[in-house]
Symmetry: D2
Subunit: 192 residues, 4 copies
């Protein structure tokens, strides 16, 4: 009754080095071709600090350069590669943006708290990405350690939930990330 | 405070005819190229009948030809097109497979109850698609009317939750759809 | 393998007339005694209208007298009786407040989208009930028909999501119902 | 815009010493009276070990004496006291059953993955408690440390997901806890 397949489905860590190598070979023009034809699979992660009761005390926001050249606050976001498990992509992007000492606590459930549909046309869904149509699975991820942002991200700031939804901080977020943060805090029961 | 963007995000039905036309032009070889490079975005829908209290009384299963030539029972499944909203894709595939009189009740929340990650290698996640790597957002969808399967699907059967998880019916499902049905029934609190 | 118990768990509609009769006999002073000793089990329902794509177009708000004598807008809310299933309580309170022609579509999943913890002290959780400590399971419930409010509720208004979170409407809600509405809309991906 | 109330709602740890003292004074006969009149509020916690990717590797099951005198495997379960937050009750029962070194990771979201409705009549919902009608909020809780069961619980065993749903282990669970474990594993995408 307990099949081998089920065992694997729970325990197997899927992305192999050969898979990563393969996706690494994808030339920029090949990726661009795919981007014009099919939606990309993305993951968004809203990093949070929680207290011993699981309540969100802080939200982590990255200060980074956006494709349009402006600087803005954003959550962790990135593409799922061919052959890569969603959990592996989530962990990879969190470690890239928060550094190796962040110790993210990936949630045990695979279902995202919401999905963000990014379109080149900002009027379609309110989530905007000038490069592509992407369907992003959004997760709330408690982080234990001290995030030390990598070179790609310019800064990492931990703000309170109240600050995260304040007009000032909202104005610094583009592409719909301000709304994503509010949806994440609402999911945590923590919307002021 | 209530922005135009927010209004659109809630109310706008996104897929335009020109978008559908554009994706209709995608040649089979172009789709194949994309399939070898990036994961595809899919939706899976487990159609259910519910009583007045919202409890699942029946699960709808399609009898259909699989890509490998065998006949099997399956849930509704299909690709999200470039430029298409996830909700539009869900409705499109439900109407294609259940017919125009099924009257599916799409859930108000955009978050899927689980995600199914299909890989060409059946050992990676337990979900298997020999054609591609697909990340599928899985929804439980109550259906009101009488589903009349389209020509593509061979048959549609409504079985009880107990029958849906029986060894006989499970053997007729491939690619992991048997597990998807059990995950859907568990989400509905309805796992025997 | 498919047990009788599992079958019942999915299909049985539990509250019997004798149970309702029994709880009907509960004298006000007995209920008051219980209220001083243990938290009450409640259900909250945010009634919504959805379009064919499942997107929320309107939120239903009741204009009613609160225990403190003021008039305020509120969502559907009520106690779960001894011996009563949560689904039965949800349907009972929806029919009481929206009338018999509202045709609520109870969600197939038993998990609430959030829980609201009401305390006599308004500072504990932000949800406030001067009469009692209540733990309320909150559901988003699409409604098909025309709600005709019963005599207990004074009025029923359908407002857009944007109006529902506007400062004007928020001010008319007390006890935390304004926050509950925003959490419900966030769950539906529909927070401006 | 960011109100004091909102701040408290996210950060305040609610249960005060005076509240605990008050509930401690509740005499057994008073609790029995309440149990005959209104449903009790409970929490159930399924403790799990997860790997760095968030995948469930083990389920923690308590070997304990049930009210009917038999020995059975069970998940963590207990009452929410008057004046107590659900998160506080969850942490209190986890520490009582797993010991102070278990370091449970309470989920940031307040919504349970399912609800379990326990009735004295085992046929109503499949969840059974001979003492009372209880509505239990069920959570999946990753545990970091080494659980050392308290004196009340006789033993604590960590089993794999496959073992947890095996007929042998299922037979050792009563009251519906075997089904609760399967619903929890399904929520984690980890049902064989």
């Amino acid at each position: 009754m307990v099949t081998e397949r089920g065992r694997r489905a729970c325990h197997h860590l899927a992305v192999s080095e050969s898979t990563e190598a393969k996706t690494g070979w994808l030339a920029p023009e090949e990726l661009d071709q795919a981007r014009d034809r099919v939606p990309m699979v993305y993951v968004d992660a809203v990093p949070v600090r929680v207290n011993s009761h699981g309540e969100v005390t802080h939200v982590g926001l990255l200060l980074r350069a956006r494709p349009d050249g402006t600087i803005s606050r954003a959550v962790v976001s990135g593409r799922v590669l061919y052959g890569e498990r969603v959990r592996d992509a989530l962990l990879r992007h969190l470690e890239r943006d928060l550094g190796p000492m962040a110790f993210p606590r990936l949630p045990p459930e695979p279902s995202p708290f919401t999905i963000a549909e990014y379109f080149p046309d900002p009027t379609v869904s309110g989530f905007h990405d000038p490069r592509q149509h992407a369907v992003s699975l959004a997760y709330l991820v408690p982080v234990d350690g001290d995030g030390a942002p990598s070179q790609e991200a310019l800064d990492l700031a931990w703000v309170t939930p109240a600050e995260a939804v304040s007009p000032e901080v909202r104005r610094e977020m583009t592409g719909g990330h301000d709304r994503l943060v509010r949806l994440a805090l609402a999911h945590a029961g923590c919307l002021p």
